[in-house]
Each structure stands twice: as C-alpha cells, then as structure tokens.
C-alpha cells in the first residue's frame, strides 16, 4: 500500500522550488515523505521535494502552477494531482486551479484586495480555502461552483464556469485531451499504443513522452482535427474518436497584437506580408498553395483572414504566399525583444564536443545523455522555465539546441519528457575525446569473430589477431583465387595440413584457416596451378563495428 500513496502525485526529476514556509524532514523512503506531506498541519502541502542521496524531504505549499520551478541535480519534485487539476469535482470546494476570469470574461479581483469591491470573504476569514492571488475559488461552498469578486465595479462577484473533471470533453483539436475514451467512432476498441498488434505503427509512447500515449486512450499526437486511435480491427488501421467539445471555452492566451514573443504562437496581429514582401494567402483558401493548416484543423490558432500566424511550432509567424513560386515564408512581425539574432551557421566545422564548461558551445546537438529530445528554449511545454532568449540574450538559446546559459558544468537542455525536467546533453568534452580511431574501438561493441558458418550467417566475417581460431566462410585468397579443399590433393599435393593431420584446426571444405599459427593470418592452398598457397583477405573484427563511422558525419539537418 505504501506505493499507493505516490499514486496521488505527479513526479518530475531534476526540479526544485524555493518557497517559504516549508518543513524539512529526514526520511528513509519517498513514500514516507509523501505521508509527511499528506499529514502536514502548518500549511496545505501541495508538493514535496525528495533527495534520495541525502534522504532529505521538504514539504511545500507551492507547486508548478503557483511558483517557478528551478533546476537541481538529483532532486525530484512530487506534486499532488488534485492541486494541478484545472477542472472541478462536484461543486469545486477543493478546486485549486489558476483560472482567474469569471464566466463573462471579467478579470477577477485579488482576494486580499479591497478595490473595486470590499470583500467579506478573505484569506483571513477562510484560511483553509487557499484564497490565493485572484484565482477562482469556492470558499463558501456555493452550489454554482467556484467564483470570484470581479474587477468590474458594476459586478461585485460572478461564477467562473470551470470544466467538470468527470466531463469527458476536448478543447481545440484535442491535442491536450487526456481523457479515457478508448473506442473509435464506429465502435471499434482502440489498440494499445505500446502494442504493434494488429497494426504496426510509429507512435511509440517512450519516443513521444509529451503526447501522453497511455493505454489505448484516444489521442491526437499528429495534428489531426480531433483525437483518434489505431483499432483492434485488422481491417481498419485507425479511426477518429467521438469526443464532445467542452462547454467551457478553451484556455485563453494573452493575444499579442503588435509583436511576437518566443515563437509567436500567441501573435494575433494583422500583419499579412512576408519578409520578402509577398502577400499572404488566406488560410481558408487552397490556392495557389494546397495545405492542411485550416481553421478546422487548428481551431484555436487564430487562422483568420490572411494574417501571419504560427499554428505549428515554427520558429516565428509565417504564411503561405500568393506567389505560386513561393509556397510559404516567415513574416516580418517585430519580435517583442526575446529571440536570438538571425540564424548563424550552427555547426562549426570541428567535432561535436564542448570546451571547458560548454558555455561557448554552439553546436547542433539536441539530444540528452539518455536519448531524450530537447524542449525548445522558447517553449513552456512541457516544462515552464525562465531560461529564455530574452533573459539570456548572449547564450544563443536557439531552437532546442543544447546550451549552457547558466554556468553549469556542461551543455544541457529541458527535455520533452514531462517526468524529466532537464538533463545534460549527449556531448563529450573536446579534451577528453581520445584519438578518433580509438574512440571507435569500444571493446564491448566489437564484432565477434565469425563462428562456424551454420550458426552465424549474419555475423560479419572477420578474424581476431592472426586468426588462428578463425572459422568463417571466406574461401578466396587476397587475389580472389578460389581455395583448394584441404582434403584435396589437386592441383597441389600436400601432406602437412589435412583434416586428418589437424582434426582440431577446422580444416573444413576449402575455407581459409591458420593451422600453423602463421603470423600473417589465415591462408589456403589455391586452385591456381602457378600458386601453391596464398593468404586470404579477412578483415579484423576490431575495425568491423557496424554503424559507427571512424569519421563522424556532419549530420546536417535538412531544414
């Protein structure tokens, strides 16, 4: 049962919160720390930090919704799910989300505020109701659910109309749908995402951690108009799911009308000209450019008229152009001052490694040491953070490339895995990379010497040392002459090396062997009358590792 206590928490490696008040304990297990949080009396415990090495346990009233998360090695943050929900159970007495607009869109007044309304319910009168900031709450168990005092002098208070947790519904195109519907629209049971039966597919949960491909639930990992799933019916590879649209309006973004911050996904201005001066094509039109970026497919991305937009994580707002010769182009939307300068050449000619602590590293690595993909520096999904190009203009925080903006000991990045906040990158320090030739000879991955033919056709035929134990299939000499069978006496008579005289030397058929431990390697008698014997050409296993080139490729990404 002890591990059940963790069921109520969401875990994030490498995360840390600095917040007072807090309580500190020493515990033996993470479950013990969870119990401390559950039983915390001095404040509402919403998360705890657990450092396994030191067996430290820190309980906190804060979580990633209310406070900034920091980076820290070997620390793990556990947040109570109930305090992360953005929906209400029942009348929402325990709703602790961060919605702060009433149902008619009025901004809520801060609970400890006194203007424009003098509240009679305050954090002092209701200390246990977590009346924080201006978030909607239901301290007096109102039947209509969470509410707030509004900043509209004419409207003292209003309900907030927050989505019901039990209501299975989706917003926009359902890209953030996390529900449990698992049948497709014509009633087929969905195939599990971690299964390749009955349908082979490339939506591997471990490779796409930020898509939440759980069990066999309907999901939308690839920009379809709504969630879908592979079906358990061999004749129907995949099908859309029927998921009702939420009654509450989608999460509001703060529209940017005059400039674009980060990638510009919140830009809703009216610029409709590209950087080279071409007029943008209307998003609803399919000419001259046929495309799939329609407002049906991307309902919450503001694809109206022919305005520049960024519906799909491009690096800045763009549009299809009315010039048949130019499909699409970025637009000249002014940046709100937080994006790095124009794209410099990213891959320096030299090796992919870093000098010193890597703060000068400007290479193209975007994978962590454990193989996770890096999160874009301008993105706040899945990890909200402060290492943005605006805050670190000199750190070249470009795309999702590994960097070291804060003087850590090596390049790192936030990961696209929601449960692992950050990791160091898959890079070596330049001064401890041995000679490239040696670096390839990792003994553990050396191709093993070819064992007898029947059992190892796929093994690459090679020899170790002088090949005295070589039992591979090569039966031609260096010059390409076919070998004479060891048991044969034509065209060359010989008595020294036959299966009878050397039964343990593997003198089968006419395959190259080294029965006399010749320093130069396996040989054979040849079928060429003018040449009694010759060496064979058998590669050294040492150099035969597949897929690991001695010269590291550039790996220039075709963007």
């Amino acid at each position: 049962q002890r591990t059940d206590v963790l069921e109520a928490y969401v875990k994030t490696d490498g995360a840390w919160i600095i917040k007072l008040p807090k309580s500190q304990y020493t515990v033996k297990t993470v479950e013990e720390c969870a119990v401390k949080c559950d039983k915390e009396v001095s404040f509402t415990c919403r998360s705890f930090l657990y450092i396994e090495k030191d067996q430290d346990c820190v309980t906190l009233p804060a979580n990633s919704k209310t406070d900034q998360i920091l980076r820290r090695m070997s620390a793990t943050l556990y947040e109570k799910k109930v305090y992360l929900l953005e929906c209400v159970n029942g009348i929402g007495k325990d709703y602790r989300g961060t919605k702060s607009r009433s149902k008619s869109g009025k901004m809520c007044q801060r609970w400890e505020g006194t203007f424009p309304h003098l509240p009679n319910i305050t954090p002092k009168t209701h200390p246990k109701a977590d009346l924080e900031s201006n978030f909607c709450r239901n301290p007096d168990e109102d039947k209509g659910g969470p509410w707030c005092y509004t900043t509209d002098p004419e409207k003292r208070w209003e309900h907030c109309n927050i989505q019901d947790c039990t209501e299975e519904c989706m917003q926009c195109s359902g890209e953030n749908y996390r529900g449990k519907i698992s049948t497709s629209m014509s009633g087929f049971t969905c195939q599990r995402w971690d299964s390749q039966q009955p349908h082979n597919h490339g939506y591997i949960p471990s490779a796409l951690p930020d898509k939440y491909l759980e069990e066999n639930y309907c999901r939308n990992p690839d920009g379809e108009p709504k969630p879908w799933c592979f079906t358990n019916n061999p004749t129907k590879r995949w099908e859309f799911c029927t998921i009702p649209r939420c009654t509450t309006e989608p999460p509001t973004i703060v529209p940017e009308l005059t400039c674009a911050s980060g990638e510009g996904s919140s830009y809703r201005g009216t610029i409709s000209v590209t950087v080279s001066g071409k007029t943008c094509q209307a998003w609803a039109s399919q000419s001259p450019q046929k495309h799939s970026r329609t407002s049906e497919n991307y309902p919450c991305k503001g694809l109206d008229g022919n305005y520049c937009r960024n519906p799909d994580n491009e690096r800045s707002p763009w549009c299809y152009t009315t010039d048949p010769e130019t499909r699409w182009e970025y637009c000249s939307v002014p940046s709100c001052g937080d994006t790095p300068g124009p794209e410099e050449p990213v891959i320096p000619e030299g090796e992919e490694c870093y000098e010193g602590d890597g703060s000068s590293y400007r290479g193209a690595m975007s994978e962590t040491i454990s193989g996770k993909k890096c999160q874009f520096w301008t993105s706040m999904e899945p990890h909200r953070h402060s290492k943005t190009p605006l805050n670190f203009p000199k750190a070249d925080l470009r795309r999702n490339l590994c960097r070291n903006p804060d003087g850590d000991r090596a390049p790192w990045c936030y990961t696209t895995d929601p449960s692992v906040r950050w990791e160091y990158c898959n890079l070596e320090r330049c001064d401890n990379i041995p000679n490239t030739q040696e670096s390839q000879t990792n003994p553990s991955q050396t191709a093993t010497q070819a064992t007898p033919v029947e059992s190892a056709p796929s093994k690459i035929d090679c020899k170790v040392g002088n090949g005295a134990d070589y039992r591979g299939a090569t039966s031609t000499t260096l010059m390409g002459i076919t070998c004479q069978a060891w048991s044969s006496m034509t065209p060359h008579q010989h008595a020294s090396f036959t299966p009878e005289t050397h039964p343990d030397k593997g003198l089968e058929s006419n395959q190259c062997r080294n029965p006399d431990n010749d320093v130069n390697g396996p040989w054979c008698y040849t079928t060429d009358r003018s040449k009694k014997w010759d060496y064979c050409q058998i590669p050294d296993c040492e150099s035969l590792k597949c897929g690991q080139p001695a010269t590291k490729p550039k790996r220039c990404f075709g963007r």
């Binding site: 046929k290 495309h291 035929d461 150099s543 075709g558």
Partner: protein, 230 residues
C-alpha cells in the same frame, strides 16, 4: 540530394556507388556485410546479368579518384519478394573493411522507427541546383508515420506497410533520382542503423510529398536467409 550539405569524406563508410560496366554512377547502395550490398530492385531493371554492374566503395566524389577506392564486380543478384523495391548484390570478393569502408547495422526484425526520429539519407544523385554536384551529399529529416504520409494531401494511400516516409513536410530537402538504392540511416545509442532503402517519391523536395523508403526491418529474415543460402 536536394538541399542538405556535402558530407565529410568517408563519414558514411557504408555508402556505395552502383555503376554500369562503363563506370557511370546510376544508383546508391549500402554495404551490410563484407561481401553483400543492399540496394533497390528498381535499380536493377537495366539488366538481369550481374556482370552488367560494378560497385565502388570508399569514395567521396563521383569521379572516384580517391586512393581509398575499392572496386568490386557483382557475382549474384537476389531480388526481394514480389512488388518490393529491395535487392541484394553479392560482390565477387569481400570488401576490405577499414576506416573508410565498413558496414551499416541492420535493424531488429519488424522494428518500426518512431515518428519524428531523426534520420539521414545520402547519395550522389540529382541536386536540383542546390549545390554539391559530384560530391557525396547528406540531408537529415524526421520520419513521418505512414498514417500521416497516407493522408489525401500527402501521398494519399500510396505508401505500403513495408515502406516508410521521411522528409520535411514543407519540402526544400529530399533524396532524388540517382540516390535510389542508397541508405536511410537513423541514429540511436551512438550507432547508425539502416532503416530504409531510398525507393521513390512524387518529384523531389516538394511540400507534403516526403520521400518513400523500403522498410528494411520487414526484410531482415529475407536478407539473412539469402546471404546464408548464397
């Protein structure tokens, strides 16, 4: 290769150039064993006779005047199952494996490359004026799951289960004529694994028309059985 860049010499040591008897490059291929090359079946339509072909290994330029060049004749052609674009070539004698010539790894049987995985295609094929003519070029892009690739606005159901797509949805970079038969390799745990054989496309580098590659993991049994029997 359209777009992309010129490779570092010999940084894709499994890349081979398939040539006519008069040594004209017309297709690519991948060294998967000292004496075996994997290529596309449609590259072998010009002749069923092995002697019509030559294989060059260890080269960087199309001129192929590098000292590391190894030249082999083809002694056997083994075409893949019907209506699949894959074939094996047996060389007259093993290639000399060294730091400029070494095989790519074969994938696990039936392995499906996860959507969005970063893969690379190489070749001396058509560049459509994007530079690098005559040099081995490379470009990298993500794998596009067959479900997306078979959308009406993409390749509209043309891609079979034993094929896979890779490319940039907005076009601009791709493999092209003359790259056929060459490798599509994907990087995982510090190793490049051969996942695709360059097969076909609707034009080259067009938006929403990714390149299509024969999915090697569906042919691992066939490859190993053919090499063993021959």
């Amino acid at each position: 290769i359209v777009g992309g860049c010129i490779s570092k010499p010999h940084s894709w040591p499994w890349q081979i150039s398939l040539r006519t008897r008069s040594r004209i490059h017309f297709c690519g291929g991948t060294l998967i064993d000292a004496q075996w090359v994997l290529t596309a079946a449609h590259c072998l339509e010009r002749s069923d006779s092995p002697s019509a072909y030559k294989v060059l290994l260890g080269i960087h330029t199309e001129k192929a005047n590098e000292p590391s060049k190894q030249e082999r004749d083809v002694v056997k052609i083994i075409k893949g199952p019907a209506s699949t674009d894959i074939a094996l070539l047996k060389l007259d004698r093993p290639a000399l494996i060294n730091d400029k010539v070494s095989p790519a790894c074969l994938p696990e049987k039936d392995y499906i490359v996860p959507s969005n995985t970063e893969c690379y295609v190489t070749g001396w094929g058509e560049t459509q004026g994007s530079g690098g003519e005559g040099y081995l070029k490379e470009t990298g892009f993500p794998v596009i799951e067959n479900k997306v690739c078979n959308r009406p606005s993409f390749l509209n159901g043309r891609v079979k289960d034993h094929e896979m797509c890779a490319g940039n949805i907005e076009g601009g970079t791709d493999s092209c004529q003359g790259d056929s038969g060459g490798p599509l390799v994907c990087y995982a745990q510090n190793t490049f694994v051969l996942q695709g054989v360059t097969s076909w496309g609707l034009g080259c580098a067009n938006a929403m028309k990714p390149g299509v590659y024969t999915r090697v993991s569906k042919f691992v049994d066939w490859i190993e059985r053919s090499m063993k029997q021959n």
